[in-house]
């Protein structure tokens, strides 16, 4: 399967995780990790699975590298019907009310444009005891499994 791991990051944690996920899936799939700042929403493709990895900044906002992408989703309103994505969020429970606000916003924007979310949105906690990759690898496998059944079916 063709997989793009798209990451939105401010201090690089999401980037490192995205690259780890890509490395983990590489053996069996065509995988590329791409910064959301380098990805044009016009290039979404129904035959590719998108794994989004995104952190949270400021007061529950998107991290810097995801902001131009989010702005384009809003201003250009691309039609993402048929596009499948899973989303792994990063945040810190110290920021109570705004915990994982960034990925929440990102998922909502994708869905509003017609994209379909596979699986639950995961919310990693930087103040928790779990290593991000320990949760993310099984999550990625699970989403890929779900995508196996959906992506390609239409084609």
């Amino acid at each position: 399967m063709n997989i793009n791991v798209l990451y939105g990051t401010e201090t690089g944690n999401a980037e490192m995780l995205a690259e780890d996920i890509a490395a983990e899936l590489e053996a069996n799939h065509e995988v590329t990790a791409i910064n959301l700042s380098d990805f044009d929403p016009a290039n979404f493709d129904a035959d590719t699975l998108y794994l989004l990895v995104c952190s949270t900044y400021g007061d529950g906002e998107l991290p810097a590298s995801a902001q131009p992408f989010a702005e384009k989703l809003e201003s250009e309103q691309p039609d993402l019907t048929g596009v499948h994505f899973g989303i792994f969020g990063m945040g810190d429970s110290e920021y109570e009310e705004t915990f994982n606000g960034g990925p929440k916003t990102l998922a909502e924007l994708m869905i509003a444009r017609g994209a379909s979310q596979l699986g639950d949105r995961i919310a990693h906690d930087a103040s928790g005891t779990d290593m991000a990759e320990d949760i993310a690898f099984p999550w990625a496998e699970q989403i890929v499994g779900m995508a196996d059944e959906t992506i390609g079916q239409a084609a």
């Binding site: 401010e10 201090t11 690089g12 944690n13 490192m16 400021g58 007061d59 920021y95 103040s127």
Partner: protein, 405 residues
């Protein structure tokens, strides 16, 4: 080999720079040198003990040494153990990422009285930096001068109850010191009006979680700017607690003198309404940082342009930009500089690189730091995630220990 680069300082700026360099060119030899036996700079000794999530960025930095081929040379002070010129002679490029560790002085009459403490000094003592002085007596009514995030960090830690420090890496003696501080009231003062204060809104919101305090906000004023309004709203929302410790925010106060016989007893301020004297039992200054003087920063930066100081010599992070900006800002800065270095570097195979450092006694390497790190995190007491090794001697001893089979 495509070149050898020495980075002075293994704080976030140095580490992000090494990361960006090695990502573009994995064949580079990148050596991170730090005067402490342990890496990560202010991530370890500045970021608050109760902000462990922020410290998690060091997992990325560990990668540098574990997988990307960067090397760590700890306990090497550039300027005394090795001169900057010798280092430049041994490497194709040298980057100053040494931060700014000295507290900017409160330059008013009485600013040097007893009982006036800089935030850098105080946080180093709280976080058990190996060169820290003993934690001082603050008395029942410390007054904080400054309105940046560092000032808010200090305020929050001083105001926390022992239970609120659960999960942190605050050490045993600082924890006892806080519990016995006898602080009744903390006043925090800023020069600007609240709307222009430097602190981030989230830092203020976090204070709303404190259980042991009653917070008053005086003279916060008003604003038309929506961003600034969030700050004022966050401040206003603080005035709800009913805890025993009193916290008072004051704005628009410029300190003009610290008063007292041998020890600070009050601070005299100028404000729009005239002069005002606020009594206190100690003064904590959080008004920025300066170079400690071990490297001639002003001279070095005299010709600086976008991170380049001279042929093969660069600077990044707080050392270059001054004491402003958070960890993400250093990342952006480091990425730009990495690109520049990569286009300019001219590898010279006669340069001997780390041979210069290999000759020094008592240096630590990454495996030595791993042993220290493991010792610190192996058996923390309840409510703590780490117990720091506090002296240089103990760090060096642990770093030298062979791993037991």
């Amino acid at each position: 080999m495509t070149g050898q680069i020495a980075i002075i300082g293994a704080g976030p700026s140095g580490c992000f720079l090494a990361q960006a360099l090695l990502k573009s060119d994995p064949a580079l030899q990148v050596d991170l040198i730090d005067r402490l036996p342990v890496p990560y700079g202010l991530v370890r000794y500045g970021v608050a003990a109760d902000h462990q999530g922020t410290k998690a960025v060091s997992r990325q930095f560990a990668r540098l040494f574990e997988r990307q081929g960067a090397r760590f040379f700890g306990n090497v002070s550039i300027g005394s153990d090795v001169t900057l010129d010798d280092l430049r002679g041994a490497y194709d490029a040298v980057v100053l990422a040494a931060g700014l560790s000295a507290d900017r002085a409160l330059a008013v009459p009485g600013g040097d009285l007893g009982g006036v403490f800089g935030a850098g000094k105080l946080t180093r003592a709280l976080y058990e930096h190996p060169e820290a002085e003993a934690l001082p007596q603050l008395g029942p009514r410390p007054l904080i001068v400054g309105n940046g995030n560092v000032a808010i960090d200090l305020l929050r830690l001083l105001a926390k109850t022992p239970e609120e420090l659960e999960g942190s890496d605050l050490g045993h003696s600082p924890t006892d010191w806080l519990a016995a501080s006898g602080i009744e009231e903390i006043t925090i003062t800023g020069r600007s009006p609240a709307a222009a204060a430097k602190f981030d809104t989230v830092m203020i919101k976090e204070l709303g979680k404190l259980g042991g305090v009653t917070i008053r906000v005086l003279g916060a004023g008003e604003t038309d700017d929506p961003q600034a309004r969030k700050k004022l709203e966050a401040l206003a929302a603080l005035e709800e607690g009913e805890g025993p410790r009193r916290i008072t925010f004051r704005f628009g106060l410029t300190p003009i003198a610290v008063e007292g016989d041998s020890r600070a007893e009050a601070v005299r301020f100028a404000s729009d309404a005239g002069e005002e004297v606020l009594p206190c039992s100690s003064v904590l200054t959080a008004i920025g940082f300066d170079a400690p003087g071990d490297l001639p920063r002003d001279l070095l930066l005299a010709e600086e342009s976008e991170g380049k100081l001279a042929e093969g010599l660069y600077a990044t992070g707080w050392f270059r930009r001054g004491p402003r900006g958070t960890i993400p800002d250093n990342r952006a800065d480091a990425k730009e500089l990495a690109e520049r270095i990569l286009t300019e570097i001219a590898p010279d195979t006669t340069k001997t690189g780390a041979a210069l450092l290999g000759a020094l006694p008592d240096t630590t390497d990454y495996s030595g730091w791993s042993r220290i790190d493991n010792a610190e995190t192996a058996n923390p007491p309840p409510g703590r995630c780490r117990v720091k090794i506090t002296t240089r001697e103990d760090m060096l001893r642990l770093a030298r220990e062979e791993e037991t089979q």
